[in-house]
């Protein structure tokens, strides 16, 4: 299974995602430039975190309009797995591949710290190996992570919600004001996932935790095992 990590101008978690795929998962991976037009040679696309185009105008807005995003749309339409992490999530919303929008955090500030999330949906390629209801610790690092659903109603899947350590979804466990404590959503089909927490930052024990690895290993087993939810 071959991964593609998209690099927009200003992406800065591209190398971290590349590292996890190549050094921790031991799977082939290549960088995909923002102006490429084909994803024929990859099986899973990662839109990494960072500050594409400086987060100027709106986080993810300009990246969503680059050439590669047309290819990502096609790739997703064919049912292939696409994951957007942090800025990648913002790009997916801006590109219309996921419903809704990410606004500035309630506190307006950038927040960088571990967060607890509860798994709501394990019927996506990226969560297929996770237990529904399980609570995981994943780092967050964002200023624009306050998820808002579209005005005409949410027609996607909630995949992760910020929670307390016992799994209860409380206002106190919501770091940024997200609707429904949303930390990650997927499209209705389930193959496009956007998440604010950074799984690539908690995929090795030396970094203090491995809860994030499950997202990457899930998609590998899903693909290699041929399990299909989509």
């Amino acid at each position: 299974m071959r991964f593609g990590v998209v690099r927009f101008y200003g992406s800065n978690c591209d190398r971290d995602c590349y590292h996890v795929v190549s050094r921790v998962l031991h799977r082939p991976v290549r960088y995909v430039a923002h102006d490429e037009s084909s994803l024929d040679d990859v099986d899973c696309v990662i839109l990494p975190g960072g500050f594409s185009y400086g987060d100027y105008l709106r986080a993810g807005a300009m990246a969503a309009r680059t050439r590669i995003m047309a290819a990502v749309e096609e790739f997703a339409a064919a049912g292939n797995p696409v994951i957007g992490i942090c800025n990648g999530f913002q790009v997916l919303c801006e590109a219309g591949l996921l419903p809704g929008a990410l606004m500035v955090n309630d506190g307006l500030r950038f927040i960088c710290r571990p967060s607890l999330v509860r798994v709501e949906d394990n019927e996506t390629p990226f969560t297929s190996g996770l237990q529904p209801g399980a609570v995981m610790s994943l780092p967050i690092a964002h200023q624009w992570g306050n998820y808002r659903p579209p005005p005409d109603g949410f027609r996607g899947r909630i995949v992760l919600r910020y929670s307390a350590d016992d799994g209860s979804v409380t206002p106190e466990s919501n770091p940024n004001g997200s609707w429904q404590n949303v930390a990650a959503i997927a499209n209705a089909r389930g193959n496009v996932l956007g998440m604010m927490p950074h799984p690539e930052r908690s995929s090795e024990s030396i970094l203090g935790g491995e809860d994030g690895l499950g997202f990457f290993s899930s998609v590998v087993s899903w693909w290699e095992g041929g399990t299909s939810y989509v």
Partner: protein
């Protein structure tokens, strides 16, 4: 404009300096030339008041690949990997515009690191402000922290450490010192050299505008008496997005092999980048201002040469291969253009098309700058009898809570929580968890530890000892995570050097720092001097900020400060404090603003550090935390608060001379470590081998911190209460 002769005063020079220029050139300089001299001979660029003193610092060591004189110092950590690091101040810009001032400070220090061919992997920020209750101070503090957060987060370099101190002395002159660390393969190490006749001089990155003209000579090299409003044109806006592209493009261009040298454009812009690179290589150079891409119309050559526009780099490329370099920048959507050539000879020549506008001996601009032996009034450090216990009848528990809630000691989470400290996935020990940050070095088993430390308060009482203490504390912090201290970079923040009292302090601080670095085997590989931190005749505390890096051979063998397991034994490496001189307790609790600053016992520092490192490397140590601000009691409290579930400890100091001094005194080299009961003996044995004082003083467990001595219990506070005081202190 260039022939509209500005007088020497306009460029910040003295008449004597002007006369030297005249005689060097054998003629009167024209306006452009004078402007260039003015910048290069400014205090900020020429170090004219500090050079001779900095020359006394120890700069050599077996691991030093690059000492002072380059954009950053570099040390070898083995396996072909080197660490580049440097600290720099952005005090004056931050006083005028805290958000952008601090942000562009981050931009500047990053460029010094990737100019060396190193990929920036970590940032640290050392900050000083006035009383946080003052709304203006809150505004400066808030602005600086969000500026660092914005720029650092956007470029994707984690901010992993730093420090903040609040003291009236900085009310009008906040200090913003930022440090950057980069990693480079040894054979990729690049220098700021404009070598090789005919090689191309390429300017890359942002276009040149009118921003920041005379920033170095006016903002950073003068007192700050004027209304900051007057300085506003010099304020610059940062563009971290473009900087991120510039990092990637420069590192990629270097891979191609066509690059001979790289230099950032910082203070004094093109003038400085051209003259420094030519001077280091012993070359001449010509450039044509017409070839410099600009963002504003109608800029004069003078403005182009003096502009301090951000996010620009100078690249010297092999003749005939310039296209390769230009192509890389183009791919990163950055402008780049050949603006001149290296040439033989000794002149920096500036053209506008065919017309030669300036012709100055390169060395005259750089090495030829004035070198002053400014008179200094030797400080008379206050060294009264050390206060013992202060004769006070204090409730130690209440004093501890008061200390923890003090802005200088309270939790820094509200600050580092705004910094992305994890991007890059190298951060093994994040901010707040230990005495130093630890980063792994991918592709090896190694780790690097880094820290900044400064104690302006101690320096104000006793400049020499205060400086020694600052180095010792950095050293101890590096040892506490298990790393071997390697080398030092430093930022020397002072008032006006033309004031004898300030110059006297400066000389003492440099002497103290040099002594400490020699005794602790941590050579100085670079740094920065910031003078003129003075408003309306009031100058800041002499404030040397030490940036130190250390090495862990096995990064998985490191320690953090929080208690780990119930039942672990608490071991004190080092002796007991016997007095309260220059302590946070005497200042905060007793309101006594006096010394003496305890002297550094280098022998003790070395053995305590060594035993701690060896214990950690051998896997004997569960947690380690040094004793510094607030003394033993604060140190124990921090380890309790940082434990996973608010684990307390019961400590019995045995027979001590004076309990308050033992609890809150700050003298001496001390590190608190915890070990599981089975292995304490091995650690004590190690200590014995090195003749390091060490003893078991207590046990981790329970939900309270209890400290007693023999039969008397001096303090018993629930960890929860400690935490709530500590966590709210900075709000």
């Amino acid at each position: 404009m260039y022939d509209d002769h500005p007088v020497w005063e306009d460029v910040g020079l003295t008449r004597e300096e002007y006369e030297v220029i005249r005689s060097d050139l054998g003629r009167a300089p024209n306006g452009l030339e004078l402007g260039m001299y003015g910048l290069m001979w400014s205090e900020h660029c020429s170090y004219k008041s500090s050079r001779r003193h900095l020359a006394t610092l120890p700069t050599e060591g077996p691991r030093v690949l690059q000492g002072p004189g380059e954009n950053a110092g570099v040390v070898d950590i083995g396996e072909d990997v080197a660490v580049a690091f440097r600290i720099e101040s952005h005090n004056h810009p931050s006083a005028v515009e805290p958000f952008q001032g601090a942000a562009t400070g981050i931009g500047g220090i990053l460029r010094d690191i990737f100019a060396m061919g190193a990929r920036p992997v970590a940032l640290l920020d050392s900050l000083r402000f006035g009383d946080p209750k003052d709304p203006r101070v809150r505004y400066l503090f808030g602005g600086v922290v969000s500026g660092i957060s914005w720029y650092g987060n956007c470029v994707g370099v984690p901010t992993v450490g730093g420090e903040v101190v609040f003291d009236e002395a900085y009310a009008d002159n906040p200090l913003v010192n930022v440090m950057c660390i980069g990693l480079v393969e040894k054979d990729r190490l690049t220098r700021g050299l404009a070598a090789g006749e005919g090689n191309a001089v390429i300017l890359a990155g942002a276009s040149t505008g009118r921003d920041g003209i005379h920033g170095a000579s006016l903002l950073a090299s003068r007192e700050f008496d004027e209304d900051p409003g007057d300085m506003r044109p010099a304020v610059q806006v940062g563009d971290p997005f473009r900087e991120k592209l510039l990092i990637e493009a420069c590192l990629e261009a270097l891979e191609g092999g066509a690059v001979v040298g790289v230099n950032d454009l910082g203070a004094a812009g093109l003038t400085s980048a051209c003259s420094e690179t030519a001077s280091r290589a012993g070359s001449g150079m010509w450039i044509d201002v017409d070839l410099v891409f600009r963002r504003e119309e109608g800029m004069t050559p003078y403005e182009v040469m003096l502009s301090e526009s951000q996010e620009r780099m100078l690249i010297v490329a092999e003749a005939g291969r310039e296209e390769e370099v230009l192509e890389v920048f183009g791919r990163w959507n950055l402008d780049a253009a050949v603006i001149g050539r290296v040439e033989d000879g000794e002149l920096l020549r500036v053209f506008c098309g065919e017309e030669e506008l300036a012709s100055i001996p390169v060395m005259g601009l750089t090495e030829g700058a004035p070198d002053y032996d400014r008179p200094g009034l030797a400080p008379r450090p206050s060294r009264p009898e050390p206060p013992v216990g202060l004769g006070m009848d204090v409730d130690a528990g209440r004093a501890l809570l008061e200390l923890l809630a003090h802005p200088d000691m309270a939790s820094r989470a509200p600050i580092f929580g705004q910094y992305d400290h994890m991007v890059g996935t190298n951060t093994v020990v994040p901010p707040g968890a230990a005495d130093a940050a630890v980063l792994r070095v991918k592709g090896t088993d190694k780790g690097i530890a880094c820290v900044t430390d400064g104690n302006g308060y101690a320096c104000s009482l006793d400049p020499r000892r205060g400086a020694e203490l600052s180095v010792a504390e950095a050293y101890r912090n590096i040892c506490s995570v298990g790393a071997l201290p390697l080398a030092v970079t430093n930022c020397l923040n002072f008032g006006n050097p033309e004031v004898e009292e300030v110059m006297g302090e400066f000389v003492e601080v440099v002497a103290g720092m040099g002594e400490a670095c020699r005794r602790l085997d941590t050579p100085v590989t670079g740094g920065n001097v910031s003078f003129y931190n003075e408003t309306r005749g009031k100058h800041i505390h002499p404030t040397p900020v030490i940036g130190m890096v250390g090495l862990l051979e096995d990064v998985s063998r490191h320690a953090t400060a929080g208690f780990k397991e119930e039942g672990d034994e608490v071991i004190l490496l080092g002796g007991d404090a016997t007095h309260l001189g220059a302590s946070a307790f005497s200042r905060v609790v007793a309101g006594v603003d006096n010394g003496p600053v305890p002297p550094v016992d280098y022998g003790a520092e070395r053995v305590v550090g060594s035993v701690c490192r060896r214990g950690i490397a051998a896997g004997l140590v569960s947690s380690a935390h040094d004793v510094s601000g607030g003394g033993l009691a604060v140190s124990l409290a921090e380890s309790a608060m940082l434990s996973p579930v608010g684990m307390g400890a019961t400590v019995d100091l045995g027979s001590i001379h004076d309990p308050i001094s033992a609890l809150f005194g700050e003298e001496g080299a001390r590190i608190l470590v915890t070990c599981s009961p089975g292995v304490s003996e091995s650690l004590l044995e190690m200590a014995g081998e090195e003749e390091c004082p060490a003893r078991i003083i207590g046990r981790v467990g329970g939900s309270r911190l209890e400290i007693g001595a023999g039969d008397s219990l001096h303090l018993s506070v629930p960890v929860d209460s400690l935490s709530s005081a500590w966590e709210r202190g900075l709000e």
